[in-house]
């Protein structure tokens, strides 16, 4: 709520005669209350208005809000509208407390809404005790202690749509989606699931032939050092008659990620690669980091389940990050604060740690000299660019006396930050938000932070604790798929396979057999969720609230619909009942357009009634039994009676299996993660 001139704010008159409104009054749910420092100290013009007035006015009592410390903007997400008696003295607002005394409240009059609105900045000014201070390090927690603390019920977005099967739950969260093959591996016993998890946490031992065969169709420069790619571009090397470009290679990074999400057996590794890739976001595509992006992805993948200290060092000193946030140009004369700030704010301790602007300046000084050699575009430390002199960020201090020693100071600084309790807490909260709930249970966050510090920033034990926690088990239904995750889960649940290379095709994309990856990438992008495609440095939002928009919903629906009709990614294949790999959109019958992949969703023996067909497909897709009402609603859409006998295959009762799968995939069953 932006008020032009706060000092002209009029106390509401009893008659309610306000100036004509120039625009619609904002709804209570989206109102924003901004309190700048200026509203606490009123300019001279308003000093005269100190006469107290008591009026009965509307108050929008904030129930939930978010507060941006930097802009001092409060965004009230939920408010209650009441009438109260308030006293106005200038811009100050008072309300009677329980004992009848006038107490100043953190609300200010909003002329446009004609109501009192909450300001968290004012709240902090009035109640300094509430101001967030750096939290003390979490108490040492025994990682093996059983946890309590159920997931907040409010966080469960789609609970009735998710069953109690641990195998399905684990598959939804720790992978890009259940497939029949994956569910078979997970089994039903605790032992089989633990064995699967242990294997996933040591991914290099998992054979990955199918995915490997797809990856080999992409640019060979995906797995080569940066200087090789630089040399190839400089010397105009051609592959398949096409000059190698950095942009093509970086787009292949996204396609490779897509292939891994869909078909790699190393699912948890791919999920974590996505997690860290967003945590250390280097947007893709982007010219500044195009040359380095493939190597950057490899560096993250190699450390995604290792130690965070190693990951942090590798990322902060990687040409992709140094180029993306501009540290490669940072020298003692003009320290660039960009990467230094994100290192603190996004990559490690977070702004609540209280390092302040001085911390950012010192952070930037430490990072001067970490650069890139323009000749081969590899990492290069330039002692001549390093700022020397004492540095201090939070509890880290160093004499930083020599230029040649600057790199070692930076390494010590990275390790200090990686092992900081605020980093432990922040990473734990992000992991719990991703894997457990948009509303992360504090009990689990604290335990994971403890494990992280206890094990010297090892990531795998943190994940093991997470997936075996009571909070995780209780969180079924608390997460929704984001658009790319919906698309990937659709491909996986339908058991769709990569297209086959077509040596006779004139189109090089088809010739290589990567048409489906190109198509699916475009679809993810149109839904606003291409792999690593988020522009700001903070990575894609990981909570449902961001994605429940009309644009994202409709695009995600249509992407899944097209997947079910296979209208565009028509080059995907699947294994039919005869065991042969066939184009997935091969038609089975002449009367209809039932697709092979969808046909595979039906039991081998067709059930006795239409309702049972719907039910069987629901179980196969989501591991859930649909309610009778839902079955009836679906049958009504399909124009059949639930009790009637289905027609014989390949023309089952549903008449349109495509429609059946589509409506179920578009339902909350298809949204649950």
């Amino acid at each position: 709520m932006a008020d032009d001139q706060p000092h002209h704010e009029a106390v509401p008159s009893a008659g309610g005669s306000a100036a004509p409104l120039r625009r619609r009054v904002l709804g209570a749910l989206t109102l924003t209350a901004a309190a700048t420092g200026a509203s606490l100290v009123l300019p001279g013009a308003a000093v005269a208005a100190t006469r107290a007035e008591v009026r009965r006015v509307t108050i929008l009592e904030a129930v939930t809000w978010t507060y941006d410390r930097r802009t001092k903007t409060t965004k009230v997400t939920k408010a209650r509208r009441r009438k109260i008696k308030a006293k106005f003295v200038g811009a100050k607002v008072y309300r009677r407390d329980a004992k009848g005394r006038w107490r100043r409240i953190p609300y200010r009059w909003d002329r446009r809404k004609r109501a009192l609105v909450y300001s968290h900045a004012l709240d902090l000014a009035l109640n300094p005790k509430r101001a967030a201070k750096p939290k003390p390090p979490p108490a040492k927690v025994d990682p093996r202690a059983p946890s309590t603390g159920p997931v907040a019920a409010s966080a469960r977005a789609v609970t009735p749509y998710v069953g109690t099967s641990m195998a399905w739950h684990l598959a939804r969260r720790a992978t890009y989606g259940p497939s029949p093959a994956l569910l078979a591996k997970l089994g039903t016993s605790r032992a089989s699931m633990t064995a699967w998890l242990d294997a996933q946490l040591a991914p290099s031992r998992i054979p990955d032939e199918l995915c490997g065969s797809v990856l080999r169709r992409l640019s060979p420069y995906l797995s080569r050092p940066i200087y090789d790619l630089k040399y190839a571009i400089d010397t105009k090397v051609k592959i398949d008659d096409k000059v190698v470009t950095a942009n093509d290679v970086q787009l292949d990074v996204a396609r490779a990620h897509l292939a891994r999400a869909l078909w790699s057996e190393r699912q948890l590794l791919t999920v974590m690669e996505d997690f860290w890739g967003n945590h250390f976001n280097v947007p893709l595509p982007q010219d500044a980091s195009a040359l380095h992006r493939a190597d950057y992805a490899n560096v993250i993948r190699a450390r995604a389940l290792g130690r965070f200290t190693d990951l942090l060092r590798a990322v902060e000193m990687h040409p992709a990050m140094l180029s993306s946030l501009g540290n490669r140009f940072s020298d003692q004369g003009h320290p660039n604060e960009n990467q230094a700030r994100e290192l603190l704010e996004l990559h490690t301790v977070g702004v609540e740690a209280g390092y302040g602007e001085t911390g950012v300046v010192n952070s930037a000084r430490i990072l001067t000299g970490l650069s890139v050699d323009a000749a081969d575009e590899t990492y290069d430390y330039r002692p001549g660019w390093h700022w020397t002199g004492k540095v201090k960020v939070l509890g880290f201090t160093d004499a930083n006396a020599s230029r040649s020693g600057g790199e070692a100071v930076a390494l010590r600084y990275f390790d200090y930050l990686a092992k900081h309790p605020a980093t432990a807490k922040r990473l734990a909260r992000k992991l719990v938000t991703h894997f457990v709930s948009d509303d992360p249970p504090a009990s689990l966050v604290d335990r994971l932070a403890g494990v992280y510090l206890h094990t010297g920033t090892a990531i795998a034990p943190v994940l093991r604790t997470l997936f075996t926690s009571a909070e995780f088990a209780a969180s079924a239904g608390a997460k929704l798929h984001r658009p790319f995750e919906q698309l990937a889960a659709g491909v996986r649940v339908l058991s769709l396979l990569p297209d086959n290379p077509d040596p006779n095709a004139s189109d090089p994309v088809r010739r290589a057999g990567v048409q489906s990856l190109v198509d699916l990438y475009a679809r993810a992008a149109s839904a606003g969720h291409a792999p690593f495609g988020w522009r700001p440095p903070d990575g894609y939002p990981d909570v449902a609230a961001h994605w429940l928009t009309t644009g994202a919903t409709l695009t995600a629906w249509n992407n899944k619909r097209d997947l079910c009709s296979l209208s565009t990614p028509g080059t995907l294949t699947c294994v039919g009942r005869d065991g042969k790999v066939t184009a997935a959109n091969a038609q089975l019958g002449t009367k209809n357009n039932v697709l092979l992949a969808l046909d595979m969703l039906l039991p081998a023996t067709l059930p006795a009634s239409n309702g049972q067909v719907v039910s069987a497909v629901g179980r196969r897709l989501f591991g859930m039994t649909l309610s009778d009402r839902e079955i009836t609603a679906v049958c009504t859409l399909l124009g059949v009676k639930p009790t009637d006998t289905p027609d014989a295959k390949p023309n089952p009762s549903t008449r349109d299996l495509n429609k059946l799968v589509t409506v179920l995939m578009d339902s909350p069953y298809g949204l649950a993660r």
């Binding site: 625009r23 989206t30 942009n247 140009f329 940072s330 679906v634």
Partner: protein, 452 residues
């Protein structure tokens, strides 16, 4: 524009832009280049609103590739223009001029806009642009659309405008037409929706007549979902219905059959149904590419020339759009403005084209414009590295529209265009502006006789 083939004569840089609009992060070399700049208050391009009105729909048309503004709004009264462009200058005799303007006139390909230009419903701001030159397509595009220099926030100005000013957002508050790929200006936390066309906004494989059946099934399937999940379904289905009704209304006439014509026709259909269907459309973005004319820009007498054809499309599209909205009495509550990443070099090159430059002309269409050609013209003998010197920060034009035509407050404008640490003197810094010699001001006393 991602799907357009890169035409001959456009540079390598541009060809890569065609592949990926968001191709490049801005360079972060330390040290800003000082350049003259006019404060926010200096642009007066739109009339203030009367108290009963609720804010215009803002249409932002991006001319991608680097628009040669001086080919469209021709400085025929500046003699250096003909000296620097011996082959491709628009002869003064062909320019469409307002009676009181002895400096600027329209390219003849914009003939269809003559009446609007004379009436003041079509006009331009000259020598506008970024505060400092940036001649890379991607960097300049991002800089223009993020409009938050010196920050790594990477959110677009239209996204901030949505959050700061539009308030209670509806699904169609911010629409991109012509492509589902969103411009950088929309990047950020507030939702905007992309449509390849109005007709393309549909539930795949479901006709309008079948939609109620699907809605009934969804109602049952979503019955137990948490409210935000159910609300997303309901809002999406309702939006499909509302847009479906807008799709059913007759299309405006006389639009050219071009990407721009079609997109503007769809924009007009949305705007015309805005009130009746409660669509809540506030921002519309559109693109037209293919302005990167390094080679063979063409003469103003050649109707098949590259620039001529491009401008004729823009002229015909804008004319049809204006007439369409005028007939529905909506032109007075619509403001269209063009943006481009940069203007072009003034001196033509040896290939009859023009290279990347700086200052540019912003075209404007709407019922409440000041009209004519606005801004400060330093003269083509006062170039910056061969380019038109920017005398009006493009943000000041947008700020003026936001204030006067969208009733945004100063605070909201400041949040949309936050002054940055390494920003140039920005709001209220007369010194920078005063430092610039302003020899010609359009619409004032004649400075030159009209050369033939």
């Amino acid at each position: 524009m991602e799907h357009e083939a890169a035409p001959e004569g456009c540079c390598e840089d541009m060809k890569r832009t065609l592949l990926s609009r968001r191709g490049l992060l801005k360079g972060l070399a330390a040290g800003a280049v000082a350049a003259p700049l006019v404060g926010l208050a200096d642009a007066h391009v739109a009339y203030a609103a009367d108290p009963t009105w609720h804010g215009d729909v803002l249409v932002v048309l991006s001319l991608r590739g680097g628009f040669d503004g001086i080919s469209a709004i021709v400085p025929w009264g500046d003699p250096f223009y003909y000296e620097l462009r011996p082959n491709i200058a628009v002869p003064a005799s062909l320019c469409i001029t307002r009676p009181d303007d002895t400096l600027f006139g329209l390219h003849p390909a914009l003939e269809l806009l003559r009446a609007d230009y004379l009436a003041g419903t079509f006009g331009a701001v000259v020598a506008a642009g970024l505060p400092a030159p940036n001649r890379s397509h991607f960097e300049a595009t991002e800089e223009v659309e993020e409009a938050i220099p010196g920050s790594s926030a990477r959110a677009g100005w239209l996204n901030r405008l949505l959050g700061e000013h539009v308030g209670a957002l509806k699904p169609l508050s911010a629409v991109q037409l012509g492509s589902t790929s969103m411009p950088t200006a929309y990047v950020g936390p507030n939702p905007a929706i992309g449509m390849s066309s109005l007709g393309g906004f549909r539930l795949s494989g479901v006709s309008a007549g079948d939609r109620p059946k699907w809605r009934a099934a969804f109602d049952e399937l979503y019955a137990r979902a948490a409210p935000p999940v159910r609300d997303a379904m309901v809002t999406t289905m309702n939006s499909l219905d509302a847009v479906g009704q807008a799709q059913a209304t007759p299309e405006g006439k006389d639009y050219p059959r071009s990407g721009l014509g079609n997109a503007l026709k769809d924009a007009a259909r949305l705007i015309k149904n805005n009130a009746a269907l409660g669509l809540g459309v506030k921002l519309v973005t559109l693109d037209v590419g293919n302005w990167d004319m390094h080679v063979g820009l063409g003469r103003a007498t050649e109707t098949y020339g590259w620039m001529y054809r491009q401008l004729a499309d823009v002229g015909a599209s804008l004319k049809a759009f204006a007439d369409d909205l005028r007939a529905a009495d909506l032109l007075t509550s619509t403001t269209l403005v063009t943006l481009s990443e940069f203007g072009r070099r003034v001196r033509e090159n040896d290939s009859g084209g023009v290279d990347h430059g700086w200052g540019n002309q912003m075209l404007m269409l709407g019922g409440n414009l000041t009209g004519g050609v606005q801004g400060t013209w330093a003269g083509l003998d006062k170039l910056t590295q061969g380019d038109v010197t920017v005398t009006t920060d493009y943000r000041s034009v947008l700020a003026d529209i936001m204030k006067n035509r969208m009733s945004a407050t100063s605070l909201e404008v400041d949040r949309v265009f936050p002054p940055a640490a390494n920003d140039l003197p920005y709001a209220g810094s007369p010194s920078a502006a005063a430092a610039l010699a302003t020899r010609f001001t359009s619409g004032l006393a004649p400075q030159f006789t009209r050369p033939d």
